[in-house]
C-alpha cells in the first residue's frame, strides 16, 4: 500500500525523501488535485508492506524530520493513506501526532472519528 506525505515546506520535503528506501518523489499533479495553489508542494510516496510497518515508518520519519522541527517552521504536512488524509501544521508536529496521523489514515473513518475527543475542561 502507498502512504503519501505532501508538504509545502521544501526543507522538510528534501529530508523526507531520505527516510526509507521505498521513498519516491511524486509529481504533485499525479495526485489528481483539481484545485489551484497546491502545486507549490512536494509529494513523497512510501510503499508500506504491512499494517505493522506503518508505525515503524512513522518512527523513521519522525527521527529524520525532528531536527528540522526544532525551529517551529511554518507549513503543512499532509499524510495520505487508504482511509483519507490528515493535515498537520509543521510547528505542532510531535512524535505522537505524526504517529497518530500515519496510523489513522490506515484505519477506517469510524475509528478515526472516535479518537477525536473533546478537550477537557480544566477549570
Amino acid at each position: 500500500m502507498e502512504l503519501i506525505v505532501v508538504t509545502d515546506n521544501r526543507d522538510v520535503a528534501d529530508v523526507l525523501a531520505t527516510v526509507d528506501p521505498s521513498a519516491k518523489t511524486k509529481p504533485i499533479k499525479s495526485l489528481g488535485t483539481l484545485h489551484a495553489d497546491l502545486s507549490g508542494a512536494s509529494a513523497i510516496a512510501f510503499t508500506v508492506k504491512s499494517i505493522t510497518a506503518v508505525a515503524t515508518l512513522a518512527k523513521s520519519a519522525w527521527k529524520t524530520i525532528e531536527p528540522f522541527l526544532v525551529s517551529k517552521p511554518k507549513g503543512k504536512l499532509v499524510v495520505k493513506g487508504p482511509f483519507g488524509e490528515i493535515a498537520l501544521e509543521l510547528a505542532n508536529v510531535t512524535e505522537a501526532t505524526l504517529g497518530t496521523a500515519f496510523t489513522q489514515v490506515f484505519q477506517a473513518a469510524e475509528h478515526a472519528a472516535k479518537s477525536v475527543k473533546p478537550a477537557k475542561k480544566t477549570k
Binding site: 483539481l34 511554518k74 487508504p82 483519507g84 493535515a87 501544521e89 501526532t97
Partner: protein, 510 residues
C-alpha cells in the same frame, strides 16, 4: 462603477525602498482556491496573519483599510496580504473563463445529481465505497478483483467493496441520454465527473515533456498579477527581493518560464521588467476568455492551455509587433484578437454568458416544476455567480489597464461582490484553549470558519453552506481530493461522506 474607484498608487521611483522592510523566507502554502465552489481559503496560523488577511478583505469590502501598510513589514506580511489578491484573481479568472465557469456549473450539477444517486443506490452493509469513485467506475472487473485482493492481503481480512457499475470510455463519451434508472443516473454523474476533470486538466505536453494544463494558466495569471501588485504597491526592490528569495525555482516560477522564448529576439533581450509580467497576465486573460466551443462536446477548443499555446506560436512569428503592442497595455488584448483573427475578447465573454444564461433558464424552468431542495440551493448560488460574472465583466473591461496589472485585486476591487471566504485556523493550538468542550462538528467549524462579507452572499447563507458541504463530500468521493485542513476536519469530512453516501470510503492500491 469605475467612476467611484480610487486611483491606484503605482510607486514610480525604481529606486524606492520600503522603510523598515525585512526580507524573510516563506516556503509554505498561504491560501487556496476551490475550483468547485469558487470559495477562497486562507491559512492563518497567528494573529498577525489573521490581521493581514482581514485588512485586505476590509479594503476589498469598503475601499478603505488604514492599517494595511505599517512599519517594518516583512516579505511574509506582503505575501500574506497579496495572497488575498492572488486567490481573488483565481476567482475572477474563474468568472471570466469559459472552462473554469463551465467546470463550476457542472460540479454544482454533479453534487445535486449525486445526492439523488446515493439516495437511490442500494445500501450494502459494511461495504466500502472506493475513492476516487470515478477511476473505479472506469476500472474493469479483472483489475478490480486484483486491487481488492491487494487491499485484503494488506489488511489480512476480507473487505467488501460496494458494487458500482463499470462504464467504458465509449459509454462515458457518448451523448446518448442515460436511462431513467439508478444505473442511468450513475452514468450521468460519471459523465459529469469526467467532464469536470477534462475541463480542468486538459492541456499539452511541450518538447521537453512538461505538461501544461488549464490549471497552470490560471496559476500564471495569478502569480503574474500578484508580482505586479507587489511591485506597484511596495516598489521594484521589494518585488525583486520577493521574486528571487521566495518564488525563484518554485512551481510559480516555472509557470512563468512558459513565455521565456517570447522575451528574446535575435539574441537580444526584447522584453524585460514588469513588461514580462504584463505580457503573462494579458496572454493568460486572452486564453481564459473563450467563447463556448461549437460543437458543444469539443470542450478542449476552449481550453486555456491550448489557446495559450496557439497564441504563443503566433506571437513567436510577430515579436517586433509584440514589443510595440506592449507599449500600450490597453491595446494588448485587441492586438491578440487581431493576430488570432478572433472575436473581441469582451464579446467572447458575452457569448459565454449567453450560453450560461440559456442553461440557467432551462434549469429554472425545471426547478419551478418540482420540489428539489439541493437543486434550488445550488441554483441560488449559481445565479449569484452569474451576477458576479456580469458585474466583473463590466468593471474589468471598463479599466483593462488596471485589470491586466492585477490592480483590481490590489486596491480597486471594492464594490464588487466577494465570494465566501474561509479562514483556516488549524495552525492555532486549540487543545491549549481552556473551556473548549465541543463535538467533532463544532471543532471542525471552529478550525474552518466561513465569512460572507458581501451582503448578497450573506443573503444566500443556506445555499453557500449546502454547496460548501456537498462539494467537499463529492470531491472526495469522485476525485479523492480531500479539503481537510486538520485531523478534526478530516474526521468531520469522513462522517459527512458516510452520512451522504451510506459508506466508509477507502482508496484502493493503484
Amino acid at each position: 462603477m469605475t467612476d467611484r474607484l480610487k486611483p491606484l498608487t503605482i510607486i514610480p521611483d525604481p529606486e524606492y525602498r520600503l522603510p523598515g522592510y525585512q526580507s524573510t523566507r516563506v516556503a509554505r502554502s498561504l491560501a487556496s482556491f476551490r475550483a468547485g465552489t469558487g470559495f477562497l481559503t486562507f491559512n492563518c496560523n497567528n494573529v498577525r496573519e489573521h490581521l493581514n488577511v482581514q485588512r485586505m478583505i476590509q479594503l476589498f469590502a469598503t475601499g478603505e483599510s488604514p492599517l494595511l501598510v505599517g512599519e517594518s513589514m516583512t516579505s511574509e506580511d506582503i505575501l500574506v496580504q497579496t495572497s488575498v489578491s492572488h486567490e481573488l484573481r483565481h476567482f475572477h479568472d474563474s468568472l471570466l473563463s469559459f472552462t473554469f465557469f463551465e467546470a463550476l456549473r457542472r460540479k454544482l450539477l454533479l453534487n445535486v445529481n449525486s445526492v439523488e444517486l446515493f439516495k437511490n443506490l442500494p445500501r450494502q452493509q459494511n461495504a466500502y465505497l472506493p475513492a476516487g469513485l470515478l477511476d473505479w467506475i472506469m476500472t474493469d472487473e479483472e483489475t478490480r478483483i486484483q486491487r481488492k485482493a491487494q487491499l485484503e492481503e494488506f489488511y489480512g481480512r476480507e473487505m467488501k467493496i460496494r458494487e458500482v457499475p463499470y462504464f467504458s470510455d465509449d459509454q462515458l463519451e457518448q451523448q446518448v441520454r442515460p436511462s431513467a434508472t439508478t444505473d442511468g443516473l450513475f452514468l450521468a454523474c460519471s459523465r459529469g465527473a469526467v467532464s469536470v476533470r477534462t475541463l480542468l486538466t486538459t492541456g499539452y505536453t511541450d518538447s521537453a515533456g512538461e505538461r501544461f494544463t488549464a490549471m497552470d494558466i490560471y496559476e500564471l495569471s495569478a502569480i503574474s498579477t500578484q508580482l505586479l501588485s507587489i511591485t506597484d504597491r511596495f516598489g521594484v526592490h521589494t518585488g525583486s527581493d520577493i521574486y528571487w528569495n521566495i518564488f525563484h525555482k518554485t512551481y510559480y516560477d516555472k509557470v512563468l518560464d512558459v513565455i521565456d522564448d517570447l522575451l528574446v529576439h535575435d539574441g537580444n533581450k526584447l522584453i524585460s521588467g514588469t513588461d514580462v509580467l504584463i505580457l503573462a497576465s494579458a496572454m493568460s486573460m486572452w486564453a481564459i476568455c473563450a467563447e463556448p466551443p461549437d460543437p458543444g462536446p469539443e470542450l478542449h477548443r476552449a481550453c486555456p492551455a491550448i489557446r495559450f499555446l496557439q497564441l504563443k506560436v503566433k506571437l513567436l512569428q510577430d515579436k517586433p509587433s509584440l514589443k510595440e503592442a506592449l507599449g500600450n497595455a490597453d491595446y494588448l488584448l485587441e492586438y491578440f484578437d487581431k493576430l488570432m483573427d478572433a472575436k473581441p475578447t469582451s464579446e467572447r465573454v458575452s457569448a459565454s454568458t449567453a450560453y450560461f444564461m440559456q442553461w440557467t433558464s432551462e434549469i429554472e424552468a425545471q426547478a419551478a416544476t418540482r420540489e428539489n431542495k439541493p437543486l434550488s440551493l445550488s441554483l441560488q448560488y449559481w445565479q449569484e455567480l452569474l451576477h458576479m460574472r456580469d458585474e466583473l465583466h463590466r468593471a474589468a473591461f471598463g479599466d483593462l489597464f488596471f485589470y491586466l496589472r492585477g490592480a483590481y485585486e490590489s486596491t480597486k476591487v471594492f464594490g464588487l461582490t466577494l465570494p465566501p471566504i474561509i479562514f483556516n485556523a488549524s495552525g492555532y493550538d486549540f487543545d491549549k484553549l481552556e473551556d473548549c468542550e465541543a463535538n467533532v462538528a463544532e471543532r471542525a467549524e471552529a478550525v474552518q470558519r466561513m465569512w460572507r462579507v458581501s451582503d448578497r452572499i450573506n443573503g444566500i447563507r443556506d445555499a453557500t453552506e449546502w454547496v460548501h458541504f456537498h462539494e467537499a463530500v463529492f470531491d472526495k468521493v469522485y476525485f479523492d481530493n480531500e479539503a481537510s485542513s486538520s485531523e478534526v476536519h478530516h474526521s468531520f469530512l469522513m462522517q459527512a461522506v458516510r452520512a451522504v453516501t451510506g459508506s466508509e470510503i477507502v482508496r484502493l492500491p493503484v
